[in-house]
Symmetry: none
Subunit: 524 residues, 2 copies
């Protein structure tokens, strides 16, 4: 049986601290998930959250090509009736064909939190599932705290699932709500549960894990080995506390490691893009070290590794990066050798003639504190300059930056720059909210008229690292500046005893590389 | 048998893209790891990297209280001799009592990368292990690509281990070098291997995993269930590509979930601090969602969860946050902070009258981007000011900083400050090698005659972090400055859109706290 992918980025994922999505963003993510090919998209808990309600009112389930839209709710209140509980009766009115109902399966919770009897809890589950199934919904049942409940009293936990299945739920999802269960225990509980429901031909067992013990993905994987055929997770593992099972990693593992086809090849290659897209919309910095899809996931630093990769990529890669839409990278760093230079030059489309000369130039610069791993622009310029290609955008005469503060007032900063650009002398002054910002603005003002491409180029990231920190503000400073033209991102590095000097170098490299790349792509 | 903790943050961890540690930082991390209580600290590969060599030359293994210092190297070259291979003969000269030797256990690698025969590979292993064991080193053997090798040819993989054990290695570490093995397969391979070595009473089996399939921690855990008694990992899982097994999460799992005592309670409670400390020194933003130690790991957002927690924390917490040195956070409840404020005030010798007022001041400041975890000086001053105690060292009138650069010349910076100190107006100007350095010097020149204690106080560390990094140089900046009087170190924080403003705040807080602490200790 094909494993079903159930995405809850838009419901459980939004519980992540600091995340807040607009309805518009939720719709864009839903479309992205549909294009990726997940089977279910759980888009919110409309009874508890007006913003989620707005989504379900504004987006029709029929707009999805493949995925089925899911609305989440809880079982009706103890002592009440499903057909009178607004959190339940709301669902039949929505276009979402699937209802996901959560209820308690841990006796301690039934008693301490719900403050009712196990029998009334079962009745609430039966009543709610039956009501929604009769309303024509596909019912997925989320057994909250299933593994804690199973540890405490397996018969009770199983009875909860049986109540849901008997009333018409077609998927029974075992939730590790607190996220603390380890794989071996979890697998045994899933095995036992799958066996218990082997007599229900129309019922599937699902798994919903969290990452509080760092085992979110592993737990989903072993549950599927144990017979679960439905897996819940979120893109990038976003979620409350330590997050949910990362559906991106899980999909790749199922397909590439366990031979279970969940997406076709074309869709699998969308994984990296989807991961970045969701990070972007959630305004989260993408984790560069994320399995399969991170920028560093296939980056090879050690010289030994780079040599191996050159012989055969499988020597140091567990899968080929392209299959998940990622790329191999050989960042140049202290630990690498000639092969990585050649590869880098090729990546950058530069003729790397004197590799030994380049390598020794890099080593010298790294000794001084430069670091090229995250600075492809500076590296490309260095390789180019070593090969005799040097096309500066301008010739500096002087710059001066003044920062002033008056008691109780704001600190203000302005920069004045004097330079020659294409034979013309220019002086310009700009204010900024820091020395580098002011310098960047003044420079652009001075040379912008001669380089219209600069309008498309923006600084996207600014990082400062103090080397030899024990020397504090008298230490060497390394500055990394990322720039972007909206399509690509490139990094530049500068080093100096003076942070202004270091920032200036990185600033100039970033702009020079951006202009030369714009010229190249225009030619090409 | 107690599971041994082998930390490789300083060797494998530094392979993480973007990480580059100074020798000074490496020494500080080694001391922190020792205090945490790990058994082994692998500090580098001295034969391959001059910076690692600098560490081993500058730091004596006897400086560690508990941990044994480990130097890493590879087995001698095929066709060569261990006693003539500089990568091997280097180790006996170091103070580190432990040698960790890596060699190939996957036949494909022996043939394609080493380009030698399996027999010569075994001979190289025997020769190298024997040489180092005879030199008096404890030898740990890292079997590279063990699980790929075992999948391909288990007899060959086992023969590699046997060669090492027969020659004197006392720990055989099974490395999932490419990080792509899933838990069930890995566990079976470990079980078989442990069984094979049951006849070697002095040999332990260890595990070294990576996170390329998102299973780094889970794989270490199942390996220990299968009989491994030595686990390798890094603080926060830093490492090449997708990182290594996170030793922080693993320690907590072993102790709190599996009942294997690896650290005493007091040390276990250091986990959160160690995790943050290492992030800080590596200049990595701490992952707020990291299992056990992340700032959000015990944050409860929903009202239902908060209500449950109030009934019984185990309803929504898999372990108690205090045991790993973390705290529960309930964004609405404010219950979490009060005790820590009282504790902090007591620690700092301050009367904390209005705890609620202090807490809301802190919350407001943290919302603006301040962060007090590494800034006890600023926290103490904030608590004091809220309690009506405010003793500024001076009254600022204005300051002005000028940075200038001429074509081809150095960048120069000078600062002029005008202020009132003890009723006297002073103007002073100083040069520095950056705006903050110049400002620090000018300020000291101005107020130094009135505060002789300042002569003892020096800035020891200066860190800049850009919040909202995507806004680049226009973003909010947080500056952390550590100061020291040679005996104690204290941190101060400043935040502002302008980096100069943020630095100024931290500078002033650091000096003010230093002077008041000097006065207090003089009195006491």
């Amino acid at each position: 049986m094909r494993v079903k992918l159930f995405d809850t980025t838009l419901r459980d994922g939004t519980q992540r601290e600091g995340v807040s999505l607009t309805t518009e963003d939720k719709i864009r993510i839903a479309r992205e998930l549909d294009a990726l090919g997940v089977d279910y998209i759980e888009a919110g808990f409309p009874a508890s959250n007006p913003k989620d309600m707005e989504f379900f009112e504004g987006f029709d389930a029929s707009e999805l090509d493949h995925a089925r839209l899911v609305a989440f709710t809880r079982a009706r209140r103890p002592g009440g009736r499903a057909d009178e509980d607004p959190a339940v009766t709301l669902l039949p009115r929505l276009s979402a064909p699937v209802a996901c109902i959560v209820a308690k399966s841990w006796k301690m919770h039934v008693e301490k939190v719900l403050r009712t009897t196990p029998e009334e809890n079962l009745e609430s589950i039966r009543d709610t599932v039956r009501y929604l199934a009769n309303a024509g919904k596909e019912v997925i049942f989320d057994a909250e705290h299933y593994f804690d409940g199973f540890r405490d009293d397996p018969e009770h936990a199983l009875a909860v699932l049986r109540a849901a299945a008997d009333a018409g739920a077609t998927t029974l999802v075992l939730c590790d709500t607190n996220g603390g269960t380890l794989p071996t225990e979890l697998k045994a509980a899933v095995e036992r549960t799958v066996e218990e429901f082997s007599g229900y031909p129309d019922v599937e067992v699902g798994i919903h894990t969290h990452n509080d013990a760092g085992c979110g993905v592993a737990n989903a994987i072993v549950a599927i080995e144990a017979g679960a055929t439905h897996v819940q997770g979120t893109i990038n593992g976003v979620g409350e506390r330590c997050g949910n099972c990362d559906l991106v990693t899980t999909i790749a593992n199922l397909q590439l490691k366990m031979g279970l086809e969940v997406l076709d090849d074309e869709r699998l290659a969308k994984l990296t893009g989807t991961s970045n897209y969701v990070s972007e919309l959630m305004n989260l910095t993408p984790d560069t070290h994320r399995p399969y899809v991170g920028r560093s996931a296939f980056a090879h630093k050690g010289g030994l590794h780079v040599d191996g990769i050159t012989q055969d990529p499988s020597t140091y890669e567990h899968v080929a990066p392209e299959v998940v839409g990622n790329v191999r990278r050989t960042p140049v760093g202290e630990l690498s050798g000639k092969n990585s230079i050649r590869q880098k030059a090729e990546e950058l489309g530069i003729e790397a003639g004197d590799v030994t000369g380049i390598l020794s130039a890099i080593k010298q610069r790294e000794y001084e504190g430069y670091h090229y791993e995250a600075a492809d622009a500076s590296l490309a310029l260095l390789i180019g300059r070593t090969a005799g290609e040097d096309r500066p955008l301008f010739e500096l005469e002087t710059f001066r930056i003044i920062s002033e503060k008056r008691a109780g007032g704001e600190t203000t900063t302005e920069a004045t720059i004097k330079l020659l650009v294409k034979g013309q002398r220019v002086i310009s002054t700009a204010e900024g909210n820091g020395p580098v910002n002011a310098l960047d603005k003044a420079l652009r003002e001075a040379i912008g008229p001669h380089y219209p491409e600069l309008r498309e180029i923006h600084l996207s990231n600014y990082k400062v690292r103090i080397l030899d920190e024990h020397r504090a503000t008298a230490a060497t400073t390394r500055v990394l500046i990322d720039s972007t033209d909206g399509k690509r991102v490139w990094g530049a590095v500068g080093v100096g005893e003076n942070i202004i000097e270091a920032s200036w170098q990185a600033l100039v490299d970033g702009l020079e590389y951006g202009v030369s790349a714009a010229v190249t792509s225009h030619k090409g």
